[in-house]
Symmetry: D2
Subunit: 258 residues, 4 copies
Amino acid sequence: MIRVTVWGENVHERTNELVRSVYPDGMHATIAAGLAEDARITTRTATLDQPEHGLTDAVLDDTDVLTWWGHCAHGEVEDEVVDRVHKRVLEGMGLIVLHSGHYSKIFKRLMGTSCSLCWREAGEKERLWVCNPSHPITQGIDRYFEIPNAEMYGEPFGIPVPEEQIFISWFEGGEVFRSGGTWTRGNGKIFYFRPGHETYPVYYQPEVRRVLSNAVHWAAPTTPRWIDEAPNVPPEQAPEPIEVRGATLHRPGDEGFK
Amino acid sequence: MIRVTVWGENVHERTNELVRSVYPDGMHATIAAGLAEDARITTRTATLDQPEHGLTDAVLDDTDVLTWWGHCAHGEVEDEVVDRVHKRVLEGMGLIVLHSGHYSKIFKRLMGTSCSLCWREAGEKERLWVCNPSHPITQGIDRYFEIPNAEMYGEPFGIPVPEEQIFISWFEGGEVFRSGGTWTRGNGKIFYFRPGHETYPVYYQPEVRRVLSNAVHWAAPTTPRWIDEAPNVPPEQAPEPIEVRGATLHRPGDEGFK
Amino acid sequence: MIRVTVWGENVHERTNELVRSVYPDGMHATIAAGLAEDARITTRTATLDQPEHGLTDAVLDDTDVLTWWGHCAHGEVEDEVVDRVHKRVLEGMGLIVLHSGHYSKIFKRLMGTSCSLCWREAGEKERLWVCNPSHPITQGIDRYFEIPNAEMYGEPFGIPVPEEQIFISWFEGGEVFRSGGTWTRGNGKIFYFRPGHETYPVYYQPEVRRVLSNAVHWAAPTTPRWIDEAPNVPPEQAPEPIEVRGATLHRPGDEGFK
Amino acid sequence: MIRVTVWGENVHERTNELVRSVYPDGMHATIAAGLAEDARITTRTATLDQPEHGLTDAVLDDTDVLTWWGHCAHGEVEDEVVDRVHKRVLEGMGLIVLHSGHYSKIFKRLMGTSCSLCWREAGEKERLWVCNPSHPITQGIDRYFEIPNAEMYGEPFGIPVPEEQIFISWFEGGEVFRSGGTWTRGNGKIFYFRPGHETYPVYYQPEVRRVLSNAVHWAAPTTPRWIDEAPNVPPEQAPEPIEVRGATLHRPGDEGFK
């Protein structure tokens, strides 16, 4: 059983009539419901308005994969929570970043780049092409699938080159975009997946749900948590016998500077 | 002429008798003097104690490559200055991160990982092996070079896999370390180079100076600055004619959420 | 149950008294026996002297992961068999290349580089450091393990930069080497693992056996076979309606040139 | 002055009336003429029908960058010539592979994959988007450029993930394709560039010529030739003093098995 926490900003769903009509219970609820169709996945949700945005140490400790959707309130996410999520990703928690989450603090923190892109909101058609038919994330998807109404995101996308290129999008208005890519940071696997504008019912679409379910299985940790500690190895514990030479800055037993 | 700014923390050089005896004018001065041996390089220095740590917009605008050495005072570097340096790297400024700079805010920001490692301060011998004899950074270096007294850094090194592996170190005490690697972030080229503990005269050593000079040439930008803006492309400017469908969240002319 | 075929050159074991004394039944038998300690793995062996080197279509179709050890007879492996193995790797069969297999036809074919290295046969100590403690291949291995007597392989190693750096070796004589790395080619996962000179009992060592067993689990395909066909998409099957313009080189129904 | 050899198959230009009408002197001549517009580039051409396909040791020794266009006669390129070109790429010669050259022996040799793709010949519009505006290869190119009539190539493209993603194409018929990517093999830089079907005047188009000229500058070697020799390091030349232990397979002075 893979334990997924679905994080949602849940702002436009409460403040914008249009978005509320599409996602009356919030996008996080719809995303979680889609994942719950997979009997090997158990879900909980967490939102910005909860204490610690619903992402306490206890919740993260109990999470194998976190999905992240945010848009208008990236700046309201507390740095302390971002630090905590970051640490858990490095330890091995999977992270799936959705659509406008490209500008979330946690995605920018993990990528180290601007994560910027071009965009247009015109309800145009998007067609996502599978670049890697053998990847676990694309199983059950044909050569491509279409989203009838989508916000356009276009290149250049300000990311480090993905370790694996999973999807590339074609847009009716003439642009292309690297819509699905993967990265590893520490022990954590990261998948960015483009679809998901809040004014369209994208997260009800079967192909999108299949990709998300696949991605959860792919991102779930398969090895124990890695606690990364920068240990000092005292001279007497060196694998080869050595004699200390010269003066030292640190005293025996000191931790290093961080 | 490549314009290099050599940034130094310059704390231990003022507070620790031993370090002062090795680097009486500060490590930054020694590093800059080494680079200045190359007639195609012009240098300035900047230190933590200066206003804005010496890294004003004007200085960064006038910098092609920044070198970074810090150790005990990483936490004292202002986030605002880190933001500024980060932005300039993405625009194309080269960055050379030295030794204990692996834990600097700017390196962690660019890598997105812990950047941690094992360490031992025993004055042992280090031998740096060239993994890529054809790389610009290793020109003029034989199959390897040695540093007689070094602080040991050992694997695992908590970094994203380098795009190019330039050096790997062998240590007398039995460890190994990925001592030289490169990454690209935005338009900026980044080189991490391990040697440089403050209690040893590493930055006077000809091979180290040669590597640094080579790295400056490699990291210097060759294309114009990239200003990355996430522009909106209005429907009427789409490359293919499209008709706007459905409701929209943004009004014409809105900037996106960041 | 993962089906592993252990391929061995099996030449020195028959012609060299020393090698025979270490591996009386052939190295392939010892490697297979080590893997068979894992109840989730089933093994068969194949050798150079068998018809089609024991690697018929039927055998490869029934193989999830192939391990490859060769040394003095790389040139005797038929190109037709190499083609067949190559095709199966691209379809998804895992491949574990051992020690002197760095110069095998199949490894060079997959890497596209020289795969060369420096070497010395002096029975010296090798210490393999774990670079990625969270990787499935390093589970059950401490920070490092040692091989008491090893042939030395040293940098530069003429490979494309590995997608994941798993191990780096320290040698008593002073060299280092990228001893474990991974690559993806098509649907196939590839792991190169350095230990294994035929004059030392390396494949009896528990840590080596553990790594090999881990690597088999890592390399086993998790998705259906990918048959890569370069299909023509006739104009009438284009996702968007198009009108054919201009003259054409191919007639309808033609296959492309290969 | 960068010395470029433009290799062309030159078959359809002689046998197909349509192709001859577009490229009366052969595509190689047109490509070379485009490059010759750059005063820092000097060109020669070589074709399949010449002795050794025009790629003798002397020619390759005098070549900094080789461009490769082939389509219907990939199989007629002698393996010995491919070996020679491969060796020169690893030594540092740049290689630019054009359009249907994706299926050339030399490209498949360097990639290690199938290099296959989907295709359609319908004279449709192609729009190439710049994914990396700061890369030397995209200088002078706007956000995108268009080719009015193109053969379509579609994903999945059977390549190792490019080290840098330079262009992605949008096709009128609805597909996308990774149209420009880079790889390093040994000391050699490789650029694949999609445009160039022989029935359309693509190599007369200014943007295509600009990209090719940029790519030549990018791919030209900047360091001395790397001769990769797999040397034996005798025990007495080990960096650390070692005593030979155990029996050996090789006698002093032996070369290794290849």
